[in-house]
């Protein structure tokens, strides 16, 4: 079975020298630079074989950072989830793309780019996936100014109510 997060951290640090991992309430926080190393190690070592990236999401914490979170499971050993988290600056968040490791990340990374503006280096074709291409801005960020902001704030200027 998969070992708890602490042992996972220590074994990973033994396997990959020069790796600084921290654990925040059972989530492995990985520095952006070493993400691909950790990912490949988790996927290829026989003990883990986390070959299935179930979910990839970006979370916006306005003033200081944007986090990208990865939920990994193993279809071979049927164990899971190992949760990786990467913390990126808010101005120009870039991280290595996981598509070479898990092909499933392709659309989810494009969605994170489209809605949050997180750039993924090495992604085969990083384009907007849900919005139309000429759309400016990243709609899911907390500080995104909606065109008719008041409709969002709840006073129903938009609805037919007089």
């Amino acid at each position: 079975m998969l070992l708890p997060v602490e042992e996972l951290k220590t074994t990973l640090e033994q396997l990959l020298p020069g790796l600084t991992l921290t654990v925040e309430n059972s989530v492995l926080v990985v520095p952006p630079a070493q993400l691909t190393g950790v990912a490949r190690c988790l996927k290829d070592t026989e003990r883990f074989r986390l070959d299935y990236l179930s979910n990839l999401a970006a979370i916006d914490y306005p003033p200081e950072r944007i986090e990208v979170i990865y939920h990994l499971y193993s279809m071979a050993h049927k164990h899971g989830p190992v949760i990786l988290k990467v913390k990126l600056p808010r101005e120009n968040p870039t991280v290595e793309s996981m598509v070479p490791v898990w092909r499933g990340a392709e659309f989810q990374e494009r969605e994170a780019y489209d809605l949050y503006g997180v750039k993924f280096d090495g992604h085969p074709d990083l384009r907007r996936i849900l919005m139309w291409d000429e759309f400016e801005g990243y709609p899911m960020r907390k500080d995104y100014k909606h065109e008719d902001q008041d409709a969002l704030d709840g006073n129903p200027s938009g609805s037919a109510h007089a």
């Binding site: 709840g154 129903p156 609805s159 037919a160 109510h161």
Partner: protein, 241 residues
């Protein structure tokens, strides 16, 4: 009639019957009819459904002891309406007991905040000085609009209403030509009597009436208790209800 010499499929019969790991799985998904007759089998099924829709056909199929198929399932709408169950819900309506101004809603606006698409708009009845007007001992809404073109009849307003003032209706013929005024149902179009509620949803209204009855009984008891001790002895401990 015509044994169709149809196209040869991608795999031939003999190679499939090789053994496989667990017994029953070998036959799963393989052909059971000989090559070329699968098409005929499909045609016989549609023919059986076809004859099953005619009375003469059904009699014939019963004669040949064949499965009669499902017959005609269409409901010709304007003449015959589909019977909906009691819990069928469409747009909400406001409940009043007896006369139209004795409505249960006290304009507390909980449903306005909780409504996911924000389509309920309530303005409380206030006199010129701005203090709420009371009728039947309760405040009441001056206007209570539900924008029916936005409402998705999700019943959350009924769940969160502490006064059982709003219930779900089951009339679904609301088509009209304009999206503006007609689709915003104002207070008197929303108001319907409690008898109507009991007629369309018997068991649900029974639960609501029981709860209302219990609450009224508690209020009467408390009111009676509050009124009674004044003449007898002020400050005597009220009987815990």
């Amino acid at each position: 009639m015509s044994a169709e010499n149809s196209v040869a499929p991608a795999e031939s019969i003999s190679r499939e019957r090789s053994a496989s790991s667990s017994g029953n799985d070998a036959r799963l998904g393989q052909r059971t009819t000989p090559l070329g007759l699968g098409v005929i089998q499909g045609m016989l099924i549609t023919l059986r459904q076809f004859t099953g829709t005619y009375p003469v056909g059904r009699w014939l199929l019963r004669l040949l002891r064949l499965d009669k198929g499902d017959g005609l399932v269409t409901i010709s709408y304007p003449e015959v309406k589909q019977q909906h169950d009691e819990r069928f819900r469409y747009f909400p309506f406001l409940v009043y007991d007896g006369t139209k101004d004795n409505l249960r809603c006290v304009a507390c606006r909980i449903c306005e905040q909780e409504c996911p698409p924000q389509c309920i708009h309530i303005v409380m009845q206030k006199d010129e000085k701005g203090s709420p007007v009371k009728a039947h001992g309760r405040t009441l809404p001056k206007t209570f609009d539900i924008d029916v073109s936005i409402c998705m009849s999700c019943r959350i307003c009924v769940d969160v209403c502490p006064f059982d003032a709003i219930e779900m209706d089951n009339t679904y013929e609301h088509a009209n030509y304009a999206r503006g005024r007609e689709m915003v149902m104002d207070k008197d179009r929303l108001l319907k009597s409690n008898e109507y509620f009991q007629k369309i949803k018997p068991s649900e209204s029974a639960v609501v009436d029981a709860r209302m009855g219990a609450k009224k009984a508690k209020e009467d008891a408390a009111a009676a208790a509050a009124a009674a001790p004044k003449p007898a002895a002020p400050g005597a401990p009220e009987a815990k209800v």
